[in-house]
Amino acid sequence: MDAITNLLKIISDFVAELIRSVLGFSPLLAELVTMGIAAVVLITFAALSFMGLTYVERKVVARIQDRLGPNQAGPFGLLQPLADGIKMFTKEDTTPATADRWVYNAAPLVIAVFALATYAVIPFAPGVVGTNLNVGVFYVLAIGSGSIVAILMAGWGSNNKYALLGAFRTVAQLIGYEVPMLLNVLTVVLVTGSMSLIDIINHQTLADGNPGIPHILMLPLPALVFLISGIAETGRSPFDLLEAESEIVAGFHTEYSGMKFALFFLGEYVNALAVSFVFSTLFLGGYAGPILPPYVWILLKAALVFFVFMWLRGTLPRVRIDQMHALNWKFLVPMSTVNLVLVMLVLKLFPTSESAAQAFGGLLVTPWVQTIILAAVNLGVLFTALTLAARAARRFRQAEEEMIMRRRAANLAAAKA
């Protein structure tokens, strides 16, 4: 039982020990080789899950839309990712004659590298994590901004109007949705008191005096907003304006084909999967869970989040660009800011630790009571924001209708005259 629970840990320790015994003459070299192998394993995991996810996503979305999905290559079309891979490898790759060659060729590499770098901090099981940074969440948020640069590089390097316009649109979307993401990760850090992803998971497990409450119960609103902005950050439907074919062809990667296009695609999926992992870690308790071994739990939770992504993709229509920006700047950001302030006040006014209560005043409560208060405040903010938004939308519609009526009246008068 114990062996199964700690399977990943045992394997990784064994490999590290093996390398240490082989390269015993130089501890530094052994350390570096161990890190290199760990990095290669993580990258391979990400690349393989990318291939698998393309198949799963096509199947799931097809089922949602009452289609069959890929079913020709192999049984149930299972060999489809392989066929796609072979095609990508052997497809002719053109570089536009007017392109800025260096920038054009570097862009897919940069986007893939930054997407894969996120996996360095994701914990898969106790003791099985690339590296436990004490600025873990901050690192995840920061490394995401690397892909913004890559997109601008692709847009500029292609020297193509559609690509450049697509890049501008994409960047406006990505930087916009990074703001609510930041604000809501901040609430998690407030509750946890640490930026390390391991500490955040430990705060949600039932060990050393922790209540074992997943953050999604404590902070339902940040979880929701993080999910929405995560979808927008990875450019997935319904926020896939960056590839609105009818408007800007394929967006910033219009000119790319073959393996370079595949790298963009990989970056997109790897990022989406990373967001699922980070969401599971921040709000669903990461690898913590009863009975099943931890690595199964984190994979299950991430798969669940990714399934929500696919579900939304299969059912929701694409939003308009003005709606997308309005949703972010006029709804999510103000709401998250107000929520952040209220969470701060609640945490200070209803502390759970005795020392804090004695030092700074406030009402000492049990963790569950604090959770209920936080959740109530969160839902209150959400409800208020929704009501206000609905009222504003109604007023907006009325004004629009009035204007149309006035125009009609004016037309009528003109026709009479």
Partner: protein, 118 residues
């Protein structure tokens, strides 16, 4: 501290190497028969008119600006969030003031129509 980040460096280097090798392998496997039409800029079959010069909206710049300001807020607020449990109420009220002043900036931008996408 630095040893924690060593893995990040290793990860970035090995990701770059692996992806670079993939690109290189693909460049050996794929056919290469370029011609002028293939190498021209893709514009739905039309000939490209002029330089890739489009009049960009300043709107993009202003959105980037608001984003930068919230980014600044983040770098100051994350350490405070880590220290939050040990902060006195007075400090917390100041942090709240800080956030509200920034929210006022956002509302100002909103009123000025900087967040509208005409």
């Amino acid at each position: 501290m630095r040893t924690d980040f060593a893995f990040v460096g290793v990860m970035i280097v090995s990701a770059a190497l692996l992806m670079g090798v993939t690109l290189l392998a693909a460049s050996f496997l794929r056919p290469k028969k370029p011609n002028t039409a293939k190498l021209s800029t893709y514009e739905c079959g039309m000939e490209t008119v002029g330089d890739t010069w489009v009049q960009f909206r300043v709107n993009y710049y202003i959105l980037a600006l608001v984003f930068v300001l919230f980014d600044i807020e983040a770098i100051l607020l994350f350490p405070i969030a880590v220290a939050f449990n040990a902060l006195p109420l007075f400090a917390v009220l100041n942090v709240v003031l800080f956030i509200l002043v920034l929210l006022a900036a956002l509302l100002y931008a909103w009123r000025k129509g900087a967040l509208d996408w005409e």
